[in-house]
Amino acid sequence: MSPRPNSCISAVIALVVVLAGTLATAPAAFADEKPLRTVEVADPYLEMHTGPGKGYPITNVVERGESVQIVRRKTDWFKVRTDRGREGWVNIVQLELTLDEFGERTAIERIGRDEFLQTRWETGIMTGDFAGSDALAVYGGYSISRNLSVEVWGSQLVGNFSNGWLGTVNVVHETFPEWRVSPYFTIGTGVVSTSPKSTLVAQEDRTDQVALVGGGFRAYVTRRFVLRAEYKSYVVLTSRDENEEVEEWKVGFGFFF
């Protein structure tokens, strides 16, 4: 009766056809050989897994003195190729025990706390409660110094009675950036726009200026990630006689680069 289920299937088929085409031509594009890093095995054995994870079985080992080429990296796993052309995945812990061309321990780029402290850009997403509404927020920040940064926030507010948007610019002071869980304080200003839900009696959309003060904690987790939790108190500068005060709680994670 309805053509819809067919359109479902045809959408999937179209996707498969297009991507199968890409897939077929792809190996040629990747075929040009780039120079690869070569390392020498210094431990008794280098264990090669079938995939990039502990769960994949070890099917090959490379003995001490032999060398392998590093083909690619996925998270903390490295695909290596032996002189005999065998390929497998090696964990970073084992790879760091190999020797480079100077006979020194292979240096692998690890993203850790030091990079986190030196980094300038950070972006992330957070979620929580804004005056009874659910808030979904995205932010981007730039560090001016070790303690001071500027952040731009955009939030979508989804409530029972009204929906809205909130955009703010904040100055953030992180008092002890070297602490694993480090507190910060923030002040900022911005704009909040609310529109009542369509199912309710018609009310006018409103756009008001806001000023905010708040604080929170940042905790370094792993690699490029930080966890964040924060509280902000807003003053909505309405056109009516009284200003509104709004509280916001959020948790989320950030990604620095």
Binding site: S7, L23, R37, P52, R73, T75, E109, Q156, V158, T222
Partner: protein, 225 residues
């Protein structure tokens, strides 16, 4: 008397010199050092070894995964329709990844609208169902899938959950998504994904407030970079 005056002026001159010229060491001591250096054997042959800049080849990392998907989505009360969208993921480690997704589908008329003939609950714009979300996925049961005797592909199941927002029926709805999927890697960079997800939100679109569950099943291809 004269020699005493000369001595006085000389000492003043000697002491003032470093200050005037900005030189930190006394010139007399400096001269002594120079004569010692002149005695040192001269370097006859300049070594012509150029310092080699060794640039180690960069290791290709593949922690990001982007993809597109298409499938079917059952929007509660509004029929099953084609859904399509795109994803981007970052793999934290072998087990965890974070993913952002967008998608859209068009919905049909409810049974009530079909039976009554004329009554329309939503207009065409409101019938469009779009969503975005951010989720955390956990790869479980890693392993290999064997295609014939000489071919093996890596695979894993994953469970995934997250938060987001849905635009439907002229309203924005805070949406929780929960599901599981399967990823089959053809090589190190291309993968096939099959994903089943429930997008749940609270709505009062049909009068009374309830939690609507919108089940989605889709197939997608992803590319690691």
């Amino acid at each position: 008397m004269e020699s005493r005056l000369r001595f006085l002026f000389l000492s003043v001159a000697v002491l003032a010199m470093p200050a005037l010229t900005g030189c930190s060491s006394l010139p007399f001591f400096g001269q002594g050092e120079d004569t010692e250096v002149a005695d040192a054997p001269e370097q006859v042959i300049e070594p012509e070894v150029e310092r080699r800049e060794i640039v180690q080849p960069k290791i290709d990392t593949e922690d990001f995964e982007i993809g597109v998907y298409a499938g079917g989505m059952s929007v509660e009360d509004f029929g099953v329709n084609a859904v399509y969208g795109a994803t981007i993921a970052y793999h934290l480690n072998e087990a965890l990844f974070v993913e952002g997704a967008i998608g859209r589908t068009d919905t049909e008329e409810t049974s009530f609208e079909l039976l009554s003939g004329a009554a329309q609950i939503l207009n065409d714009d409101e019938r469009e169902f779009t969503y975005y979300n951010a989720s955390i996925g956990w790869n479980i049961f890693p392993g290999e899938a064997f295609f014939g005797p000489g071919r093996a592909f890596n695979q894993s199941f994953y469970v995934i959950a997250g938060l987001g927002s849905t635009r439907f029926g002229g309203d924005d709805l805070f949406t929780i998504n929960l599901g599981a999927g399967y990823r089959l890697l053809f090589n190190d960079v291309f993968a096939l994904r099959v994903d089943f997800r429930d997008h749940a939100f609270d709505t009062d679109l049909l009068g009374e407030s309830k939690t609507a569950h919108n089940l989605t099943g889709h197939v997608g291809f992803t590319f690691f970079f």
